[in-house]
Structure formats: C-alpha cells, structure tokens
C-alpha cells in the first residue's frame, strides 16, 4: 500500500481537494468563482482557504477593480508539488 505514503493529510477534505484542483489548472482565480464552482457557502470556503494559506499551499492577492475589492488566489509551487504527489498516491491506491 505505498500509495498511502504519498497522500497528504491537508487534502483530506473534499473542499480542499476541489479548491486545489481549480487553482492547479488556472492562474489567479477569484473567491466568487471558486465559490460557484464548488457550490459552497461563504463561511465554509473561507476556513479551508485560510488553512491552505497557512501551510503556504496557496497565496492570496487583494486588489481593487475600480472601487470593488477583488480577492484572487493562486497555488504556490509547494502546493503544486504536494497536490501532484497526492494525486499520484490516489492513482496508486486504485491500481492495487
């Protein structure tokens, strides 16, 4: 069961898994966009974003478009690497 060794505990929740999937294939993505794609409520998503930011898997950019604030997110290189390994682990588990 070598696949288990590659799995990352940070991606235990399906929300985080979904969040990482979106950021992995896109550049900066807005909060609202993520929320719609994952079909989530505000509070739920915010806590997961915070957790991933804390371990440096994602980075946050806050800016203003005109007068409206816009918060966007991007996956970091550390996050990318961890997520890639996690997917690899999942694939290995299926093959067994």
């Amino acid at each position: 069961m070598e696949g288990y060794g590659l799995l990352n505990k940070s991606f235990d929740s399906r929300v985080r898994l979904g969040l990482m999937s979106i950021l992995y294939v896109n550049e900066w993505v807005s909060y609202k966009e993520i929320k719609n794609l994952l079909e989530l409520t505000d509070g739920n998503l915010a806590s997961h974003i915070h957790a991933l930011e804390k371990i440096n898997f994602i980075e946050i950019k806050k800016q203003f478009i005109g007068k409206k604030p816009l918060t966007t997110y991007r996956v970091t290189n550390i996050g990318k690497k961890a997520f890639k390994e996690h997917i690899l682990g999942l694939e290995k588990l299926i093959k067994i």
Binding site: L7, D12, S13, S21, N26, S30, K32, N36, L90
Partner: protein, 215 residues
C-alpha cells in the same frame, strides 16, 4: 469527509479541473439568434428579396458563373460582402454582450485565461480564412467563398472546443463536412451556408440552452 475513496476523489479532481479551465459563458439563446440572423441575411442574398434599390436581378448562381455585366456583378458582390460582414459583426457583438452578462451574474471575470485561449484558437483559423476569402474574391472565384468560410469556421470550432464546450468539436466537424460538400456543388454554396451558419447554430444553441443554461 474522510479520504477513503480514491476513485471518487480523482473524479472530483478531474471534473473540477475541466470545469474551471473551460470557457462556458456562451448563451444558448444568443447562439440561436445568430443562427436566425445568418438565415435571414443569406436568404436576402439567395432569393434576392427586397432589393428594389436597383433594377438588377442578379441571382447568386449568376454571380458565381459570372453571367452578367461586370458592373452589375460587382454591385451584387458588394451587397453580399456587406451582408456577410454585418452578420459577422452583429453576431460577435451579441455573443460578447450576453457572455459578459452571464459572467457578471456568476461572478466570473470574462477575460480570464480560458476565454482568451478560446478566442485565440477560434480566431487564428477565422482570420486565415478571412484573408483567403478576400484573395478568392480578388481572383473572381466567388463560388468558393461560401464553402471556404464553412471550412475555416469548422477548423476554428474544432480547435477552440478544447478550451470550451466539448460539443463545439462535433459542430466543427459538421461545418467542415458541409464546406467540402459545398465546394463540390459550387452553385449551391449559399444553401450550404444557410445550413451551416443558420440551421446548425439554431440546433446548437438549443442544445446549449437546455443542457447548460437551464441548470
């Protein structure tokens, strides 16, 4: 939820990667509308309706076979190019406005990477086709213009389908097929044009509307 189902996790990852990286802000109704527009415009040219502006009565077939006075043919040709450009410009405008509206509603930035990738993959073949068609006109090969627009449009759709609705690929193949058939039956090019840009868009718009917009 605990991570004990690798299969469902992987399919979730795959789904979200696809969904988030594809441009899907087209409005089905807008596509139907462009189809109608193309049908109306092409019928004007084909059946020569409503052109009492001149005494000319030059049919599309006559134009293609260059059967008539060069000045008369030229007027007809100008009319054809004018109508085609009007259809193209107004269709693009309708698509753009509705896509913007939809993206504002969903809180998505319209000009994101999937949008620009879709545009680029669509417009490179379209631009090439446009220039090619102008050259055809320059050489008086009028009959091949309608088939050529179908073929290049088909190519654009196939290449942009990777970044947008996957159904665009099938629409693209169909336009290509129509283009080739139309190149064979040169006299009926406009009829195939009506099918390709009119009927196909209406059917495709209905599909998008009921499959995605209704949700």
């Amino acid at each position: 939820m605990k991570n004990n189902q690798p299969e469902s996790d992987l399919s979730l990852i795959k789904d979200l990667m696809e969904k988030s990286s594809k441009f899907s802000n087209l409005s089905g109704i807008a596509i139907i509308f462009t189809g109608l527009l193309a049908m109306i415009g092409a019928s004007f040219v084909y059946f020569d309706i409503g052109f009492s502006v001149s005494k000319l009565n030059i049919s599309y077939a006559q134009l293609i076979n260059q059967n008539g006075k060069p000045e008369d043919l030229y007027i007809k040709l100008k009319l054809l190019v004018l109508i085609a450009s009007l259809i193209l410009i107004s269709s693009l405008a309708i698509m753009y406005i509705t896509a913007r509206k939809k993206s504002v509603k969903e809180g998505i930035q319209l000009f994101n990477s999937s949008f620009s990738r879709t545009l680029k993959s669509l417009f490179i073949p379209l631009f090439a086709g446009g220039i090619f068609c102008l050259l055809l006109l320059n050489h008086h090969m009028y009959g091949l213009v309608a088939p050529a627009t179908l073929i290049f449009y088909g190519l654009g759709l196939v290449s942009s389908s990777k970044f947008s609705y996957y159904e665009l690929e099938f629409l693209g193949y169909f336009e290509l097929l129509l283009g080739f058939i139309a190149s064979f039956y040169i006299g009926s090019g406009l009829l195939f044009w009506i099918i390709g840009f009119g009927v196909c868009h209406i059917v495709f718009g209905l599909l998008i509307h009921f499959k995605y917009d209704k949700k």
